[in-house]
Symmetry: C2
Subunit: 461 residues, 2 copies
């Protein structure tokens, strides 16, 4: 393999190749902090270099694993000692911005936050947002079709991408850098690369759609007396705040109570005895009118007994305090250690029953030990579920997975709403997808990567 | 072939097969009214029948052309005497509606209007909207990734589809009827079938996303003094009306003047001497507040000289009168007969220069004869361009196409924003897409339809 590494070094230069300790010190999984085992990390500086790298790997039948910001949680970045890592970290430029067309052209290694800030500078916004904004990259957001907290208003990453450029497994560069909102001239090739977790091509650049900036942000934390009230509140908020509703996050009591307990550092903004809480956020252009409209909607929700209490943030500090409860995953990881994390979606109407069933099954199997915490993007049908049975063994993990995923099939839910499949959920894919769907995925994989060099074993066995 | 037709008749029954005059009387093109030349029209009643039909066609290497509502304008429905037509017209049921999840499950042959009405009945909306709503079908909307007048707010058809079911060329049924907003469990297979014009599979059913109903609709026609003012007006409206802006349609003077001339039946709502007009529409939930906010924005636009005059519709009749000017394509077809129709997109900043160049080139080649009419979805970068040189010959068509598409390449525009490619634009595909993109499209076509049986020759030669 030294021959190949030498060949790649002539393409990307000395600083483009990391070996030994430089490889091992990288963590490939945000939760587990597992070390990178790849034989080397190759860091192209531009698309042309990556194209040559892949052509050489293709000739040598060398498998590669692509790395973005390494904030994924489904072992999508895991690489074995006989694999090479391709890291886009040196391709992190924002190449151009078009304020009239509201588009931005970036390299795949640019961080989400740098893109958000560049949009902000010209008085526009890039609406995708998630906790890992400072580290995660646009390429990773594309490869995993990232979701986050504003999907209800702006959609997932798929909707933010107008065009992209990708390098195929044989080094072919497919440049599909469309800048227009509408383009029906032939197949929409970018869709192949969005959400396929680097298994069909390596995304190198993208044209992103920007949105008008929304200077007025209204945020409230509300206490909700029942799950039925929670779903009615969602419908009510969707209707009354229709155009401006940008987030509707639900927190089960097990989440809120833990996050505001003495052990953790968050203020108990509302009394902790409510079965459900929700964070509701709107984005608009008129602070005064929006605040008034938002307060009126909350008042009406109180009158109609959809909520029992509410706090409307009246400063950015208060706003941050509310969001911190939701976004402080570190505390959850610490409190629930060793933790198994799930990211599922199912029809909203079934969520309460689903979670109750999980609680019962966990308690039956690990009485007095199992702990479950539930929160998530209710408006998107997406729940994050954190479970500990105080035992990290593969055996326990499998037992918990079987409860979580096994129960999910009753409701035709998805084993992955936004985190992707990676290696972690691969063996459960058939619970969410039919044999015909999986056969078609394999057909696509074979058509685009016949030698199976791109992220082998991820998503599909 | 009689053997195959007999075999298919045993699958779909007598009423499922149309022959002779029943075939010829169908028009396959909305503009030209060209007659259908297929050997037969096969009308399955359900997915299982279609699966059997395709299995039989696959065994017999029989090519098929899929028909929806036959409102396409790029010869996508043209079928030759050695081809069979598959029509989804007997599969037009709305199967179920979920008001909590805001989803609707339909068969592909359901008309867009029937879906809109069914959503309306449960106080939700299906936001895709276009002039052909009464005839076009959901399957056709999916196959062509239909756009229409509300893309700026809700996106194209691609964004309205949560899941779908398709029959592949060998009869395999791929059921990917996802009902959730978020599902990253493996490749998003539905993207393969959306916008690929029936060349990769036949869409049979779909899960559609519904949106909150917007009872308050504000519509204005405004006169705009220059193209620069028009683009600034778009940016202004996008910012000020951000959340509620649902349509921003531009009419060049050549369009408005023709549509409000004595020969046509539309009232001249504003004086006809302005170089540009725009129809601006918002959707909201509070009639009184929305009307007030909309009027204030228009007033500010007047003050800032972005517009010189405005009429705000204060009844649904007035609103319809404004939209009629935009949607009355029949009058254009009549007035510009014989007409060549184009549907292009390009960066907004270049539109004025592009249209001026077309006018000059047309005038140079057909002095005093050529007539061009321009209007479209400015906010989406999409213009519809209608041209007559009073000669329908293929020679003249080609000469006009070369001017329209040839000039477009300067601006990296697209030969098709929303109508698709079909047969009509196939020979120009390479002007909008790179050789690598077209090669990848062919690779996908080969992977999904190796015998080339589905809509052969459409999009790709």
């Amino acid at each position: 393999m030294d021959t190949l590494i030498n060949e790649l070094e002539t393409i990307v230069g000395k600083k483009g190749v990391l070996l030994g300790e430089d490889v091992a010190q990288r963590s490939v999984d945000w939760f587990t902090k597992a070390s990178c085992e790849a034989m080397a990390i190759i860091r192209p500086q531009n698309t042309e270099q990556l194209s040559q790298v892949m052509a050489a790997c293709h000739a040598a039948k060398q498998a590669v694993v692509t790395h973005g910001g390494l904030t994924g949680v489904v072992h999508g970045a895991v690489a074995s000692p006989n694999e090479l890592v391709i890291s886009l970290e040196l391709m992190n430029q924002i190449e151009s911005i078009d304020p009239v067309g509201s588009t931005m052209q970036v390299q795949a290694g640019a961080t989400l936050q740098s893109v958000q800030e560049a949009a902000d500078e010209i008085d526009l916004q890039f609406p995708l947002d998630l906790g890992a904004r400072g580290s995660c990259t646009i390429g990773g957001n594309i490869a995993t079709n990232a979701g986050g907290i504003r999907v209800i208003r702006y959609g997932m990453m798929r909707q933010q991408v107008l065009g992209l450029e990708a390098v195929l497994s044989d080094g072919t560069v497919v440049s599909s850098m469309n800048t227009m909102l509408k383009n029906n001239a032939g197949y929409d090739l970018k869709q192949l690369f969005i959400g396929s977790e680097g298994t069909l091509g390596i995304v190198t650049r993208a044209v992103l759609r920007l949105q008008p900036k929304m200077p007025s942000e209204q945020t409230a934390l509300v206490a909700v007396p029942s799950f039925d009230a929670l779903t009615r509140l969602l419908q009510f908020a969707s209707r009354e705040l229709a155009n401006s509703l940008s987030a509707f996050e639900a927190l089960w009591n097990n989440h809120y109570a833990l996050m505001t307990s003495e052990a953790t550092k968050h203020a108990e903004i509302l009394a902790g005895d409510s079965p459900f809480y929700a964070i509701i956020e709107t984005l608009g252009s008129n602070e005064e009118k929006d605040a008034e409209a938002f307060a009126a909607v909350l008042e009406k929700a109180l009158e109609e007994e959809l909520i029992t209490d509410a706090v409307l943030a009246n400063s950015s500090t208060q706003r941050q305090g509310i969001w911190d409860i939701r976004e402080d995953i570190e505390t959850l990881v610490y409190e629930l250690n060793p933790m198994f994390s799930f990211d599922i979606s199912l029809p909203i109407a079934h969520m309460d029953e689903y979670v109750t069933t999980l609680e019962e099954k966990l308690e039956a199997q690990w009485p007095g030990v199992a702990k479950i915490v539930v929160f998530g993007h209710l408006g998107d049908g997406n729940l994050h579920i954190m479970i500990t049975v105080r035992d990290p063994s593969p055996h326990s993990r499998r037992a918990v997975e079987e409860i979580v995923y096994g129960t999910l099939t009753r409701y035709s839910g998805s084993i992955s709403a936004e985190h992707g499949v990676g290696l972690e959920k691969r063996d459960y894919l058939s619970l969410s997808r039919t044999p015909e769907e999986i056969a078609l995925m394999k057909r696509m994989k074979l058509a685009l990567d016949p030698k199976g060099l791109l992220n082998p074993g991820k998503i599909l066995a």
